[in-house]
Symmetry: C2
Subunit: 238 residues, 2 copies
Amino acid sequence: MNATPLIGVLGGMGPLATVDFLHKVVASTPASRDQDHVPMLVWNVPQIPDRQKALAGAGESPLPAMRHGIERLNQSGATRIVIACNTAHLWADALAEASAAPLIHIADAAIAAVERQGKPGGPIGIVATRGTLDSGMYQKRLAAKGLLFLTNTGEEIDALFTPGCYAIKQNRLDEGGALLESAARRLVERGARALILACTEVPVGLAHARSDLLPISVDPTQALADACIQYWLETRPA
Amino acid sequence: MNATPLIGVLGGMGPLATVDFLHKVVASTPASRDQDHVPMLVWNVPQIPDRQKALAGAGESPLPAMRHGIERLNQSGATRIVIACNTAHLWADALAEASAAPLIHIADAAIAAVERQGKPGGPIGIVATRGTLDSGMYQKRLAAKGLLFLTNTGEEIDALFTPGCYAIKQNRLDEGGALLESAARRLVERGARALILACTEVPVGLAHARSDLLPISVDPTQALADACIQYWLETRPA
């Protein structure tokens, strides 16, 4: 007997981004009644050491707290694991190893969405934390498809991206939205013809700012939601 | 040693209402970083038999599926249980009995919010499912405070309220919002001076419709979110 499908969500990084992810799953599911929606168990426990600080060597590792969440999700019957945070995917290998349920990687889902959109007429801008950029998780996958990319400078990350992210986490959406919009716009000014909003705070901020960059953007949160829905539609009991 | 606080959320009834509840918790929490937010574990598994049909004698009981969710939340360390659905509270006694973690009852949270608003200049309209109304869970609590109330007629429930609820569950927000708004407006036309939106689909629908009834409304979903935040602020480790 196959186990009943259950998406285990490691959330809380940040909490609003997790809610945004869940909303995207529900809003994008073809459903005529409650029972048609995707079954999810959400470990939305934000008491995880700061990922950006840990990567900068300025704080304790988030891995034990994340692994604890993954274990709880597995114990409760999760059949797939998703992590509603790009930066946390730096620990994806260690977490996948600690999980009986396979991980759906957010960058795989995002690159599949890029491919569905067709080739852009120029490089793809990646808006992400320093940790996500340093890992190369997006660059490697784009390069493998023969796609060009560009990223924010260190100055732009410090002045626009990072304070924008933290403002969203503090529920200061006007300020956070404007800062993250500016970070994304710099890439377009340097020639980006498409964007990957590769930090879960960014789509939240750009949606709040009603940004005109959204139509050329791929939202990995939405792509991950779509991958969860596809899994559910393929595996749900008849 | 006290257990680490963890709010266990029995969700999925309906899925969008659960996301709305989680959003209200995050948006209302005083937070300067991820780690300040309320730790929650969300059993958002909508494969629970239809509550309204079960109460009408036309379907199987939702209790076993709800009890299963409550057990999983307890096993994973929940220290309080909340149910993001008013109608499901008809089974609140049986669920509280199956739970080591105490239940924060949505109607208790809502009545506390009514009291914080002060006495309205007339009766309070209760917008709710037939099941919630038949249980008297809101009427009993209002009567105990000496407050008058009124409710929709059976015809209004059949023509406006119930189809409005199901439309929201199907992601048809324009239609659902308009129907639920009309159900609420009938109560105001009959003299209600305040409203309790005692079904989790109703605040979602009225917010989508940008209803001018929201300023005189108490939202039990928001009240339950506030009760969770208060619990977290009182019990969080120093």
